[in-house]
């Protein structure tokens, strides 16, 4: 029974001192490097962690990685124990804004259906439709800018796009005011163009 208690007594059973060393060490041994990923998975967890990382990951990725946006160089704000900073809450963000947008969208529904039912809109209703369309379009484009021009990645392009949008919205407001007061109004125009 002595050889079970003290395997080192069986020194003569190993071909080389290196092989003996491998058995006696609990560190990552050279015998693990040549094994297949399946064998790695069957090993106990502590032995698996000693396997080279590439051999464990490569077996699961057959296709090329396509990242939509690779990460930027990271900057740690505060100490290392602080979480990622959360933006300050503002009353203009969030649910009030969202509810107002929903109200405008819901208001557009009858104004869109009415011309199909009645044939056209009177100038006042048409102007209300224009105002709601301007707001709805502005908010929609704003969401697109927020989604596709992230502030952390391209702050200058983001603010340039925002200012271009504001300028465009004001221009559109002036244009639609001019069109409503000097011309026939957009529902009437679309109807006449449609039947032209």
């Amino acid at each position: 029974m002595a050889f079970i208690v003290r395997p080192s007594l069986l020194r003569q059973s190993f071909a080389s001192p290196a092989a003996a060393q491998r058995v006696f060490s609990t560190a990552a041994s050279s015998s693990m490097r040549q094994t297949s990923p399946l064998v790695q998975q069957l090993r106990p967890a502590f032995a698996r962690t000693a396997a080279p990382k590439a051999s464990r990951i490569a077996a699961f990725h057959a296709t090329q990685r396509q990242q939509i946006l690779p990460p930027l160089p990271q900057k740690v704000v505060g100490t290392t124990n602080d979480p990622t900073p959360i933006p300050d809450p503002a009353p203009a963000h969030g649910s009030y804004h969202w509810s107002f947008e929903r109200l405008v969208a819901a208001g557009l529904v009858p104004l869109t259906v009415a011309p199909f039912a009645a044939g056209s809109l009177n100038p006042v209703t048409d102007s209300i439709l224009c105002a709601l369309l301007v707001f709805h379009s502005h908010v929609g484009f704003e969401s697109c800018i927020i989604d596709y021009f992230p502030k952390a990645r391209i702050p200058k392009i983001r603010s340039a796009a925002m200012w271009a949008l504001r300028l465009g919205t004001v221009t559109l407001g002036v244009a639609l005011y001019s069109f409503e007061t000097n011309d026939i109004g957009i529902t009437e125009l679309i109807m006449k163009l449609w039947h032209a």
Partner: protein, 177 residues
């Protein structure tokens, strides 16, 4: 004592076959990890490097095409087409007197009236499809906002219904003069 030790060894080998136990006193352990005192600067460098290894959203191509997210994307694309057209028209209308264009309604109507039929029908389809799809999909969005029809199956059904209805309305209004 010896029999107890043998039992313990056998148990350990059964649990963890790769772990060979040495007799006490001759155990050779190698710890590959070491700790050392670092400063705040090196700690934030390590953290910044580690954050680069965090997973990144994969590209859209890995997702299966489904009416749920295709419909959502189409909603935004049609919105941009419609609103973009409105913005372009508005800016062009204000710039028209300076540039010598005629964007007042009588001249525009006269210009369109002179088009061949195929051009009129194509233009109506090109405008009508985004318009009807965005309007009908907007109704779906408004119903979700009050919590109606948010079931996965219902979302798929109404999604296809919006596509079908907008196609039907577009064809109807494009060909009925």
């Amino acid at each position: 004592m010896a029999s107890q030790r043998v039992f313990q060894l056998g148990l350990r080998r059964a649990v963890a076959p790769g772990f060979r136990v040495q007799p006490v006193g001759r155990m050779l352990q190698r710890r590959l990890a070491a700790t050392s005192g670092g400063n705040e600067q090196s700690a934030s460098e390590i953290l910044a490097k580690q954050r680069l290894l965090r997973p990144v959203s994969p590209h859209l191509t890995i997702y299966k095409p489904q009416i749920t997210w295709y419909g959502s994307g189409l909603n935004r694309i049609t919105a941009v087409i419609l609103s973009g057209g409105l913005y372009i028209f508005g800016i062009a209308y204000l710039a028209a007197p300076t540039l010598g264009w005629h964007l007042e309604s009588p001249s525009m109507i006269a210009a369109v009236a002179a088009w061949p039929v195929w051009a009129k029908v194509s233009a109506k389809i090109a405008v009508g499809m985004p318009f009807f799809y965005h309007c009908l999909n907007g109704l779906r969005h408004l119903s979700w906002d009050v919590g109606v029809g948010f079931n996965n199956m219902t979302v798929q059904r109404t999604g296809w219904a919006a596509v079908a209805a907008s196609a039907a309305l577009t064809l109807y209004y494009a060909f009925s003069t």
